[in-house]
């Protein structure tokens, strides 16, 4: 089991990344973690879905696909440790294949900084990430836009 806190640098734990250090096109290194039934259960409870009966595919329990969202920022933060004051702006997810909830699934995530721009006097960063099973089967794609402090 990999808790997000095990792979995600936390604000204040190390010197954070100033805006000037982010590089458009930067590759975000591969990150491996595992989704377990316990992690899925804890995530479902956190979004008040613990009693939901909809997480089934062909008779088999599946994870909430958005359980991956608690790992997404780790893809960025492992290369660019966070500072306080980062604000999430938007997020796009596409799910490709399920994560089953009755087993441990090894996940490999990787990403890229796709845009860095200033608009209306504010500083922005957009990155993309891909999540695959360890055998290469695609699970999800994500794009995330953040507003970064000065």
């Amino acid at each position: 089991m990999t808790r997000p806190s095990e792979v995600k640098p936390r604000e204040g734990d190390q010197p954070g990344t100033p805006y000037s250090a982010f590089q458009e096109g930067a590759i975000l290194p591969e990150m491996r973690f595992s989704i377990t039934p316990e992690i899925n259960d804890e995530y479902l409870a956190a979004i008040d879905e613990q009693d939901a009966e909809c997480y089934v595919l062909d008779g088999r329990k599946v994870c909430a696909p958005n359980v991956l969202s608690v790992y997404l920022l780790a893809v960025l933060y492992r290369r660019y440790p966070p500072i306080q004051g980062i604000v999430v702006y938007d997020q796009l997810w596409r799910w490709h294949n399920p994560i089953f909830a009755d087993e441990t699934t090894e996940i490999v995530a990787k990403g890229k900084v796709t845009e860095k721009f200033e608009r209306r006097g504010r500083k922005w960063l957009r990155f993309a990430a891909e999540f695959e099973r360890a055998d290469g089967k695609p699970i999800a794609s994500a794009q995330h836009t953040l507003n970064l402090p000065e």
Partner: protein
């Protein structure tokens, strides 16, 4: 479809425990107040999770292989807020508190 949540600091803390962050704006009410907010801020991804739950009910098995979820956060959700997250028939998502709209987006099945 809609989901109603009375936001509390306990909900924010519970989400923070699984999210693994240490962003003080979610946990320090005095700091949040000094920065001009009504209170600590619920995690945007927590609010997104409520919308995703509605989409899982709407689309069933297809959601896990063709689902597309987009959310944009436009205003904060704070402890004490009465949050309603809705998913319309056309897939549009809205999150709303008494002060106004906090999140927009969509949940659809991707074209194959």
């Amino acid at each position: 479809m809609e989901k109603k949540i009375k936001m509390t600091q306990a909900i924010i803390d519970q989400y923070g425990a699984i999210n693994g962050d240490n962003d003080t704006i979610h946990y320090d009410a005095d700091l949040a107040s000094r920065r001009g907010f009504r209170g600590t801020l619920a995690h945007g991804l927590n609010i997104m999770g409520y919308a995703a739950g509605l989409a899982a009910r709407r689309y069933g098995a297809d959601w896990y292989t063709k689902g597309e979820l987009y959310t944009k956060w436009i205003a904060p959700v704070c402890p004490g807020d009465n949050l309603t997250v809705s998913l319309r028939d056309d897939g549009e998502i809205e999150g709303k508190v008494d002060q106004g709209i906090t999140m927009v987006g969509h949940a659809r099945l991707a074209e194959q």
